[in-house]
């Protein structure tokens, strides 16, 4: 299987206009890699939440997309990074209903539920990096009751 060249890119996240490009690019890359419609929708929605976080809380940053493969399975990895104030309490930020910016508090926790792999690195003053990966055809992440 060839690697979709268009899936590798770096997009700036500086305004809410950029959120539109982020969604369209992730949609296109996911479709190219063979993601089904529901999985495309989940990944694009997760990207929208994370890009908005980057913009609103991180003061802007960027998203990198990268096609990955593991044991013959295609995936799409998205990395959102900003150099904003960072997150002091990651556990609190990931819990539903927590918001510091007038949202619904679904951003981080919700995005985590929509992807297969989720990793976040953040510390006060050092910015935030969120890396998520979804795989073509893999069953959804098991539900965790919290």
């Amino acid at each position: 299987m060839h690697t979709a060249a268009g899936a590798q890119a770096r997009l700036p996240i500086r305004s809410d206009m950029d959120l539109v490009w982020v969604r369209q690019h992730v949609r296109q890359a996911a479709a190219q890699l063979g993601f089904g419609l529901v999985d495309q929708t989940k990944l694009v929605t997760a990207a929208s939440e994370l890009a908005r976080n980057t913009l609103v809380y991180g003061g802007g940053g960027s998203m990198e997309t990268e096609p990955v493969s593991e044991a013959g399975v295609q995936g799409l990895r998205l990395t959102f990074s900003d150099e904003g104030p960072g997150i002091a309490d990651l556990e609190q930020a990931l819990s539903d209903g927590f918001t510091s910016g007038g949202g619904l508090g679904m951003g981080l926790g919700g995005a985590r539920r929509l992807v297969h792999d989720f990793a976040i690195e953040s510390s006060p003053g050092a910015g935030t990096t969120v890396r998520v990966t979804s795989w073509v055809g893999r069953a959804p992440r098991p539900r965790e009751e919290s």
């Binding site: 770096r10 969604r23 949609r27 529901v38 929208s48 926790g109 919700g110 929509l114």
Partner: protein, 147 residues
């Protein structure tokens, strides 16, 4: 910086979303990828249109057709919920119509179920519902009418 930056497939919706008036009902059709500010502008436009109609007849309902919307994230979800709430405060009802299956599945997984937002599968069902003069309480009959 030499970044590869593919352009959009279809131009995003910016500015105002057209609000169509059909008798006592306002019809809004959302298409494609919505700009955040456009969604907020729509929220304001709807509230003003409903409250301004004293002389030209009363608006009793709002239909928001989202069949052309590919994703609903928590921002757009919040806007839809707020439109439903403000519409009710202005003595009208609102119905969200035509949500795509993939969008519904994703919203539930995201943790957003939009309590208080009435839904219908088609514009026809929503229209029928809003123009009935003895409305069933809280759209109780709506689900049964869906195929």
């Amino acid at each position: 910086m030499n970044e590869s930056f593919p352009g959009p497939q279809a131009g995003p919706v910016t500015g105002h979303v057209p609000v169509l008036r059909l008798g006592e009902v306002l019809l809004v059709t959302l298409q494609g990828d919505l700009h955040d500010s456009t969604a907020q502008q729509l929220q304001q436009d709807l509230a003003e249109t409903i409250s301004r109609t004293g002389t030209t007849g009363v608006i009793t309902g709002v239909i928001i057709d989202i069949s052309g919307v590919e994703i609903v994230d928590s921002f757009l979800g919040r806007v839809l919920a707020e439109i439903a709430g403000q519409t009710e405060l202005l003595a009208a009802r609102s119905v969200v119509v035509g949500m795509r299956p993939a969008v519904a599945i994703t919203l539930v997984e995201l943790g957003l179920t939009l309590p208080g937002v009435h839904t219908a599968l088609s514009t026809e069902v929503a229209m029928d519902l809003l123009t009935r003069h003895a409305p069933s309480s809280r759209f109780g009959g709506l689900r049964q009418e869906s195929p």
